[in-house]
């Protein structure tokens, strides 16, 4: 079990680095979502199903969706701003 946890922790750390070094916010939402999924697997391996469930719903679904919608709004706002001028 300790090997599984070590491997998963390493994968999670790599995933976190990928999220941090993704520069475009829209792409970052996708990598963040995948990172949330990795974290969920780690929590299950650590026998914390309650936390895994929260992480899956909040970190993998809700937060990336909020980021995507915010990006969409910003893009639309910039477009109308340019049209007006």
């Amino acid at each position: 079990m300790i090997i599984v946890i070590m491997v998963l922790s390493t994968v999670v750390l790599i995933g976190a680095a990928v999220v941090v070094f993704t520069r475009t916010p829209a792409r970052q939402a996708v990598t963040l979502s995948v990172y949330g999924l990795l974290l969920t697997v780690l929590f299950v391996a650590l026998q914390a199903p309650d936390v895994a469930l929260s992480q899956l719903a909040v970190g993998t679904a809700v937060v990336p969706l909020m980021v995507m919608l915010a990006v969409r709004k910003v893009v639309a706002y910039r477009r109308t701003g340019r049209d007006d001028r």
Binding site: D50, L53, S54, A57, V62, L65, M66, L69, T80, G81
Partner: protein, 255 residues
């Protein structure tokens, strides 16, 4: 307050936090070890109160006041976000059309997973005292399930299924029910959030006294919070468009 004073105060605060945190971490039992004093106490207390899910027993019974604080923070921050995302004077609402075409496979998966996710969400909330999960987890799953409709391109249907006015009310009602159960404990047993109902039999749906009720109250508040939160973002991204000048009729109404 000048910048230097603020920086000094920040440094003092960070040092203090680091000191306390360091002392706490050093005192923790080793990772993967056999000695878990807190677990031993919490598990025996949970089983004494016939709560099979000890995590729920801690959240809603042994440390219910902490959960009340967390729930209040959640509701307050969602209210703040809703205030921030309200339509500004230069924004007008437009009808959201079907928009971009959605892949047939996405549509199919949405149709399959919408009822399944909603059912799982209700199950997780209702069985919070017995199986892993509880009000928060189930509430978020439920809200996520509802928003699968948006992913499947059915935004209008989503709007009709979650009238925001009602969800704004149920958000507050969930919080009120939570504190009402806590006050009932105070009134009957003289202790806030005291588990005053009969514990029942371990692993039965009606076991664990107030835990299952508090779980449902939290579920109600959380599902409403997440729906209101995402509704604010969805409105901003899809329905509200920027217009260069505030509407003439609006100006007249303002006068």
């Amino acid at each position: 307050m000048s910048r230097t004073v603020r920086m000094i105060m920040l440094a003092v605060g960070l040092l203090g936090a680091a000191g306390v945190l360091g002392a706490g971490v050093v005192g923790l039992p080793a990772f993967g070890g056999d000695r878990h004093p807190y677990r031993d106490l919490a598990v025996s207390a949970g089983l004494q109160r016939a709560t099979a899910n000890v995590v729920s027993s801690i959240n809603f019974d042994q440390r219910a006041l902490d959960t009340f604080g967390e729930e209040t923070i959640l509701v307050a921050s969602v209210a703040a976000v809703a205030a921030l995302l309200r339509p500004s004077r230069t924004e007008r609402r437009r009808r959201v059309g079907s928009g971009l075409p959605v892949l047939e496979s996405t549509r199919l998966l949405t149709v399959i997973f919408f009822p399944v996710t909603v059912l799982v969400g209700i199950d997780v909330v209702a069985h919070g005292a017995i199986t892993p999960g509880g009000g928060f987890q189930g509430g978020v799953v439920l809200a996520t399930g509802l928003h699968l409709l948006y992913v499947g391109g059915r935004y209008r249907l989503l709007e009709r299924l979650r009238p925001i006015r009602i969800f704004e009310i149920t958000e507050g009602v969930g919080l009120v029910i939570f504190i009402a159960i806590g006050l009932a404990g105070l009134a009957i047993a003289g202790q806030l959030f005291r588990n005053v109902l009969s514990y029942g039999q371990l692993a039965q749906l009606t076991s664990s006294g107030t835990v299952v009720l508090l779980s449902c109250a939290v579920g109600m508040a959380v599902v409403s919070s997440v729906v209101v939160l995402l509704a604010g973002f969805l409105e901003q991204a899809l329905a509200l468009v920027e217009v260069s000048e505030p509407d003439q009729s609006d100006e007249e109404a303002a006068r």
